[in-house]
């Protein structure tokens, strides 16, 4: 005799005007080939992918455009401002990205992943320029997803100037170090979601492998954004699948509520009725 399991459905992730059915956002950079990228995106289960804005390579007519390899009906594009080191360039880049997406008629035209870097070695964000750019982009009508450090104070400030989502880094971009300071992520979550539980918080950057994604999701973040961990894995396609399952497993575990950690054991089998005279 069996009965249908009753598990309350997890509503899809809402970020501003966008509804995402996968909580994994995947970058399109660093793959060996466009085919490998296409297959990795497909296997990751994502419905949202990040892209960068760059000058046309005017003298390389044989080079294929990334856009030839992307199913624009399937994926919501999230243009970034990667490579910008001040608010002015980030705002300019965001507007160029929006113009391209409007031409593509992709639903991602109204949002941007804001990334304003401070330093080429660490690629850590510049909090002052990020905050200024966020304000300007909000005023220009963008839904702004802000890449930032895991500092809860800056996270709060970004939300207060109108960021649609705050995206703290687990560790430096592409470093694969995972979530270095889970306590800061916990405080970010408390500060940003305390009186606003649906406010989106995404861990962006630093993921090295599937357990990092699961850990982030178990902390209670709404999603994870990653790129290098798939693109530079020895087998990107297999890692894309791992990331998909890790996102789902971490989310399910978070919703399930983990048991508290205890110092001592707690037997899983009954302690009564044990055969033998030494039973205690």
């Amino acid at each position: 005799m069996s009965s249908e399991p009753s598990i309350t459905a997890d509503p899809p992730l809402q970020i501003g005007s966008h509804t995402l059915h996968s909580r994994l956002i995947v970058g399109t950079g660093k793959y060996d080939t466009l085919e490998q990228m296409q297959q990795s995106l497909d296997l990751s289960g994502t419905d949202c992918i990040t892209v960068a804005v760059r000058r046309e390579r005017l003298y390389d007519p044989t080079g294929r455009n990334l856009l030839d390899a992307i199913d624009l009906g399937r994926y919501t594009l999230l243009p970034n401002t990667a490579g910008c080191y001040n608010a002015k360039d980030a705002v300019r880049t965001a507007k160029l990205g929006r113009e391209i997406l409007l031409g593509l008629e992709n639903r991602g035209a109204n949002w941007v992943k804001l990334e304003v870097l401070a330093d080429t070695k660490t690629l850590l964000p510049d909090p002052v320029e990020t905050l200024a750019a966020c304000e300007q982009l909000v005023a220009a009508g963008f839904e702004v997803l802000c890449y930032t450090t895991d500092d809860p104070v800056i996270a709060k400030r970004l939300k207060s100037v109108g960021a649609t989502a705050v995206m703290p880094a687990g560790s430096p971009i592409g470093s694969g170090q995972g979530i270095l300071n889970p306590n800061n992520i916990r405080i970010c979550l408390e500060y940003l979601k305390g009186d606003d539980p649906t406010y989106p918080v995404i861990v962006d950057a630093g993921v090295g492998t599937a357990s990092d994604v699961a850990m982030a999701m178990e902390l209670g973040v709404d999603g994870v954004l990653l790129n290098t961990a798939i693109a530079h894995a020895k087998d990107p396609l297999r890692m894309a699948i791992a990331m998909r399952y890790a996102t789902e497993a971490g989310r399910l575990a978070y919703l399930s509520g983990r048991i508290p950690r205890r110092l001592y054991a707690s037997a899983s089998s009954p302690e009564e009725g044990v055969v033998g005279s030494d039973a205690k």
């Binding site: 970058g27 399109t28 950079g29 660093k30 793959y31 990228m37 990040t50 892209v51 960068a52 804005v53 760059r54 000058r55 046309e56 005017l58 007519p61 455009n65 990334l66 856009l67 594009l77 243009p79 970034n80 990667a82 300019r92 507007k95 160029l96 990205g97 113009e99 391209i100 409007l102 031409g103 593509l104 971009i173 592409g174 950057a205 954004l225 990653l226 790129n227 290098t228």
Partner: protein
């Protein structure tokens, strides 16, 4: 006459408009955005925007990124 295109000097015929330049470059106009002298030039103005000597153009597209 000359314009600066993505920080490189390029000779074009006087009277060339932006849409014509994009055609000459064999670029897919759907995949790009253009800045003219620091200001975004919307797609629907490409055909009516005549380029002048010394104009600074940035033509960008999307590439892989995280």
């Amino acid at each position: 006459m000359f314009v600066q295109l993505n920080a490189q000097r390029r000779e074009i015929s006087p009277g060339t408009h932006l849409a014509e330049l994009i055609r000459q470059l064999e670029l897919n106009p759907k995949f790009l955005a253009v800045e003219l002298n620091g200001e975004l030039c919307p797609r629907d103005e490409h055909a009516s925007t005549v380029l002048n000597e010394g104009d600074e153009l940035e033509i960008v597209t999307l590439v892989g990124g995280g």
